[in-house]
Amino acid sequence: MTDAVPLPLVVKDLSFQYHTRSTPAIQNIHLTLEPGQIMLLAGSSGCGKTTLMRCINGLIPHSYTGEMTGDVLIHGQSVHGMGLSQISTHIGTLLQDPERQILGTYVLNEVCFGLESQGMSYMEMLPKAYKALERLHILHLKDKETFFTSGGEKQKVALAGVLAMEPDILLLDEPLASLDPASAHEALLAFRELADEGLSVMIVEHRVEDVLAIHPEKVLYMDDGKIIYNGDAAGVMDAVDYSRIKLPAPVIARRAKSHPAPHFQPTVPKIDPQSQPLVSFQNVRFQYKEDTPEVLHGINLDIRAGEVIAILGHNGCGKTTTVKHALGLLKPTSGKVLLEGVDSKKSTVATSAKTIGYVFQSPSQMLFAATVREELAYGPKNLKFSPQQVEDNVNWAIETVHLEEELPTPPLALSFGQQKRVSIASVLSMRSRVLMMDEPTAGQDYWNYQSFMSTILQTPGFDAIVFITHDLDLALIFANRVVVLYGGEIVADGHPQDILQDEEKLNKWRLLPTSLLKLNQQLWPKTGQYLCAEALSQFI
């Protein structure tokens, strides 16, 4: 009789509490992962998903200290006796932010980093690196500098670096966070393919609906450090709070039927097509340096009061570059950007900040204050608001992002998701006429981003709102105008229902139709407008 082969991953009664925290981050976690299985790990921000991953890949206790009980077994061997390097031969980890993971200056070097560490010869490592790049369809990037790759490309490059090491367990921490819909779909198909080849894959992801499309064998739902649900994908549809994670729209609509539909009424003023544009792009062309390719090819765009504009487009199409022009952070190589009629070349960014509040993608590069309250007060103070106005704005902004209890906390001590919300609030508190947000929902859980987006749009004070997003649902629920960029050009501009109805074009622009879009199109004769899944329940 032969002994049973140990499972690739077993987590036994695992609990962990960070030294800096007074409560455990995870408690009594049990799970097993078999070869060829995909496990989706879902839950709202701060539920302990990332801590669990750190316990599995060895970053806890090697890099993060605390009290750990229970065990993690990799192929039957406890991680307690293993070094990080030894764990890395079995477990490949893709971190949430690829910029934190990429070490090589060129793509091929980055992909080969792990193989170099394993002492492979040039001739051994090259085929493995090429195979990983080909699998993710980015072989054409091999000689590109990693710094100049787009957000989505970086994610793929980081993943290729992990895959090249041929691990048997893959841990993916929000791998879709910065990918456009088509890239996310391609990445998910690649994960499925890897699992089908025998890899064990654990995916931590807020975009639950997207992951369900590749039929994960197991779904875990965590809340407050504990596993609430551990079962198959079908069971999770009814087992968890549908407002907490993003389930398929028909499921939400079915389950929300017995609850009152959320009321959503944006407060931006009515659009007056004859009014002077707040921001006007006039044939804007831009290149970062003389010897680099042009990024924007003749952008023409007017932003008027009353507009809620969603800017969509594939990774690297120039969305952020376009928006940065509005504030004057970048100046056009040719053409003009007018802010309330004034050429951006003739005004300073600080002056423009009175009109445009711009939320950057990365929160850690702006947070500095000793408390969240001070952080939120910084912008309004710079704009010379009265102390009472500052106080009122801070209170309003913090309520909007649901972080009232964190006002005395140092912003840098918060989680990434919370830091993102503080960075948004710190711009909201300036009460600028136009609010521009770059990927406001990245790293946010479903409930949080739905909630603060609807709060922002229902709060009086903004003349116009512009947001960059990869989330098509966000655009169709909240925007009254959609601008699609493709390869540095505006290829579509209009009402969401006009732009998003052509599935063929959406696919071409790398924006895939979602279940919410399909349900909205199906119910269009009854609704006459695009609605969120909860509101659609009343029409089924």
Partner: protein, 290 residues
């Protein structure tokens, strides 16, 4: 994310020199220039450094930021420390000497006795040659060396893997810091930040730049942890490392190494065997001030 220096291939002679030979040559210049104060030797080293720099075919536009930083250092060391205060010449230039302006000078209607000597002025020239020689050979490295070559170069020069990779990361730290600073500056400008150096006392000025310095510093600290984690998660340090980037010596690389050794040996020989390491002022220099 770590950023690389702004290197681009120019098909210059420097692009064809093995980085190991380049580092050996650069350190030979460094040691030669710091071994002696003899004007003739320093001048010869200076000429060699200029010739070496010209092999990179760098333009002023490419390197102006680097030279700006060096100019600040040169101004501090030479103008302030050597010419104005004379502190930098202590222990090298003998006390006393011939005054450049024996009768003093009239500045803004005031008569001043500066005490600047001809010897101290020559010391400033010597120091300028020394620092420029070193700067010329080292400043060109980031602009003319492929970012993929650093780690393997240090490793093949005999450093352990950890140290070799640390050296590579150190080279990338400066452009990374510059990039992070720019992002933070943009983010704070978007919140109405304006750098107004003219306002307030020193404490107020520090408070004013805190929104820039704190995120940049915190990011640098957090990034170093991230880098360590990312390296560990990919098995760094587990065994002897190999490198994708391949280096291969050509005959001219051997010639450069031989020349480097010869240059350093000659300098050491002249300095210690023929006693040419001490500071001295050429006669023609005195002639300029008589």
């Amino acid at each position: 994310m770590l950023v690389a220096w702004n290197y681009r291939y120019r098909n210059s002679p420097m692009d064809h020199i093995d980085p190991r030979a380049r580092f050996i040559f650069s350190f030979a210049v460094l040691f030669s220039a710091t071994t002696t104060w003899n004007p003739n030797i320093l001048f010869a080293v200076f000429l060699i450094a200029i010739t070496w720099y010209s092999l990179g075919r760098l333009t002023w536009k490419d390197t102006r930021l680097g030279w700006f930083m060096i100019s600040i250092m040169l101004f501090t060391m030479i103008v302030v420390n050597t010419i104005i205060t004379g502190g930098g010449a202590g222990g090298v230039v003998p006390p006393g000497g011939q005054l450049v302006w024996p009768d003093g000078v009239l500045i803004f209607g005031k008569h001043l006795n500066l005490g600047l000597t001809v010897e101290r002025l020559w010391f400033a020239v010597s120091q300028l040659m020394r620092i420029l020689s070193i700067s010329l050979v080292f400043i060109m490295i980031p602009y003319t060396m492929d970012s993929r070559a650093y780690g393997v170069t240090f490793s093949k020069l005999g450093l352990p893997d950890r140290l070799a990779y640390t050296m590579e990361l150190s080279f990338r730290f400066i452009p990374t810091l510059a990039r992070n600073f720019q992002v933070t500056l943009d983010a704070q400008r978007a919140r109405g930040f304006e750098l107004d150096a003219g306002k307030g006392n020193i404490i107020q000025k520090i408070r004013q730049v805190a929104p820039l310095l704190i995120p940049v510093t915190m990011n640098a600290i957090v990034s170093s942890e991230d880098i360590a984690n990312a390296m560990d998660l990919r098995g760094f340090g587990q065994r002897k490392r190999t490198w994708l980037y391949q280096l291969k010596f050509q005959w001219w690389d051997w010639a450069i190494i031989a020349f480097s050794i010869l240059m350093l040996a000659t300098t050491l020989l002249l300095a210690y065997r023929f006693d040419m390491r001490l500071f001295s002022v050429p006669h023609w220099w005195y002639g300029l001030f008589n």
